[in-house]
């Protein structure tokens, strides 16, 4: 299932909108929830039971923690001052118990569906090695669609209640709609309760304006996918399938193409999700912010898959680095190592947790774990050498705020990311390393191999023009200009000319139909 299926985007979505609008405001949220659950059941069949069960567990845990909090307040009124602390502590423990139970319950599902086989295979290897005469049976099963995204979103809700950031919702339908809203099921973004829950539940009418506004965003997503990603896919497929045949230059082009394709495909999907949200008056959070303009790897991850980065920052990075033991470590380290390197110790420990989990979240495989560690290492290096780089620049009289330096930073970061994503795409770590080796081994600048993938020179021209177009869009957006907003202020002729132009460009230059193979939704497997 992909949102780029025209039946989804141009038949299903309008149909949902019509049905939704036909109902009175009060019932619309229920209609949307029903449609979302049907959509899930359509893709994952009987696994809908898992979704319902999980939603109920999340809802109940929220209510449970809320009730404990209220009870605590009542009890606090009755007890003497010196007992207050003990009461607080005991309720905190109870709340924690509910939270942990809920997390275990939901993570257990995730583990069962996604990671069981990975651990089983590796344990079996280990047991073989130590000649233990027992083997775990590998079970073949399918995972519910988007379970990794869903689980993080669900956990963010209970964690926010636990931390007292939000109050538990007493309405199970609102919680369910927030967690199961159909466009977000496949590839996120991982929204927080405050972002979408209320506006989703309001049942705002889809107006002519919101409908067309949403479709503009959807078309933009389609352009990224059909004109650029599906062309890059031809290169990526050939190079990764048969890398031993190509020279170093071609392999580099393949590696580069993969990251750009991933960006176009993933962010294009998110454009569709956000566009659908806009129709219903829901502000789904942005997931990308011109990632290739990042000044370092750490900055990159605040611009790429933003909702995932924020999740790890809020629920892993700060809780770990600000835990009691880490705090005292920071304090001690700071006195010895100064302001920069002091917090780096506990920061790095937290960072390591973040990136191990990040890698593992993407999939059960050693190359994903390596992918995580690679980014951890790059960010760590960046942090360690930051003061020396700053000093060196000062000595060499390089102004780090100048455009030239920024461009250099972006290129450096982007190159580092290309190789990180190589480990992400390659079937195994060995292949990834072999590809890098071959890249430097078979050095050649012959571009003739590029013509052997089934793309002709005209396809390359369209691809390049498409990427230049996207680049210009990124520059404009980096400057903080909202292109869509600007277009909407133009008069009707210019506006319509732009829309017609975009639609026709898509229809003519999209890489669909005979001779092209569309990219499979990459993130939907996670």
């Amino acid at each position: 299932m992909s949102f780029f299926n025209p039946v989804f985007a141009f038949v299903f979505v309008p149909l949902v909108v019509v049905i939704y609008n036909l109902f009175p405001k009060k019932l619309r949220a229920f209609i949307l929830l029903a449609i979302s659950l049907l959509f899930f059941a359509f893709i994952s069949k009987w696994l809908i039971l898992y979704l319902v069960l999980s939603i109920v567990s999340i809802y109940m845990s929220g209510i449970g923690m809320q009730k404990l909090e209220e009870k605590k307040k009542e009890v606090l009124k009755t007890v003497e001052k010196d007992e207050k602390k003990a009461v607080k502590e005991s309720y905190k423990k109870k709340r924690k118990f509910v939270l942990v139970l809920c997390i275990i319950f939901n993570v257990a599902f995730l583990f069962m569906f996604k990671y069981f086989n990975f651990f089983a295979v590796n344990l079996n290897l280990l047991m073989n090695y130590f000649k233990v005469g027992h083997q775990i049976t590998i079970v073949k099963h399918i995972a519910p669609i988007g379970i990794s995204f869903y689980t993080l979103e669900a956990l963010s809700y209970v964690l926010d209640i636990y931390y007292g950031k939000i109050e538990a919702d007493k309405n199970i339908f609102r919680v369910a709609l927030y967690l199961a809203f159909f466009p977000q099921l496949l590839e996120g973004p991982i929204a927080r309760y405050q972002d979408t829950a209320n506006s989703l539940y309001e049942g705002n009418k889809v107006t002519f304006e919101s409908f067309t506004w949403g479709y503009q965003r959807i078309l933009y997503g389609f352009a990224k996918k059909l004109i650029i990603a599906d062309r890059l896919n031809i290169i990526v497929k050939s190079v990764f399938e048969d890398w031993g045949r190509y020279n170093g230059f071609t392999i580099f082009v393949g590696i580069m193409s993969y990251t750009i394709m991933l960006y176009m495909e993933f962010s294009g999907t998110i454009d569709i999700v956000i566009g659908i949200g806009e129709m219903f008056g829901v502000k789904v959070p942005e997931n990308f912010r011109q990632p290739f303009f990042a000044k370092n790897v750490s900055d990159f991850w605040t611009r790429w898959h933003i909702s995932l980065g924020l999740w790890f920052k809020d629920y892993i990075f700060y809780p770990v680095s600000l835990s009691k033991s880490m705090k005292s470590l920071t304090g001690k380290a700071k006195k010895r190592l100064g302001n920069h390197y002091g917090p780096l110790v506990s920061g790095s420990v937290a960072l390591l947790c973040v990136w191990l989990l990040n890698g593992l979240w993407h999939g059960a495989g050693w190359h994903y774990i390596f992918f995580g560690l690679y980014h951890f290492f790059m960010i760590l290096m960046g942090n360690i050498f930051e003061p020396s780089v700053a000093k060196a620049c000062e000595k060499l009289k390089i102004d780090r705020k100048k455009k030239g330096y920024r461009i250099f930073q972006s290129i450096k970061t982007t190159l580092l990311v290309f190789f990180g994503e190589l480990f992400f795409r390659a079937p195994s770590m060995a292949v990834a390393f072999a590809m890098i080796a071959r890249m430097f081994d078979a050095v050649s600048f012959s571009m003739s191999e590029l013509m052997t993938f089934g793309m002709d020179s005209r396809d390359y021209v369209v691809l390049m023009l498409g990427m230049v177009g996207m680049f210009i869009m990124s520059v404009v957006r980096e400057k903080g200009i909202d292109v869509r907003e600007n277009i909407s202020r133009k008069n009707i002729w210019i506006r319509w000319a732009i829309y017609y132009g975009l639609i026709l460009l898509l229809l003519i230059f999209g890489a669909y139909g005979q001779g092209y193979v569309p990219v499979d939704p990459i993130y939907a497997d996670f």
Binding site: Y163, D314, Y318, L322, K327, N339, H340, G342, P343, G347
Partner: protein
């Protein structure tokens, strides 16, 4: 307040803390600097900043951070 600005300037000298109101959103303070900042504040003002409070809204300007400190001191 002055003490806070001193701490901030010590950590990240390139910012005019009187005027800037997007310290986090504008990426003047990265997560490591925030770790430093928190430990400095906790030492200097004898408060404990819980993880939940570490959201951009609380750290986007010196004034906001000061508000947070005052609020936490009162809560204690």
């Amino acid at each position: 307040m002055e003490e806070l600005i001193e701490i901030l300037e010590d950590l990240q000298p390139d910012v005019d803390y009187e005027t800037v109101d997007d310290l986090v959103d504008g990426r003047y303070l990265d997560s490591l600097t925030i770790l430093s900042l928190i430990s400095e504040i906790e030492d200097a003002f004898d408060v404990e900043i819980p993880t939940v409070e570490i959201i951009p809204a609380n750290f986007n300007s010196a004034a906001k951070i000061w508000e947070l400190i005052v609020r936490l001191q009162e809560e204690d």
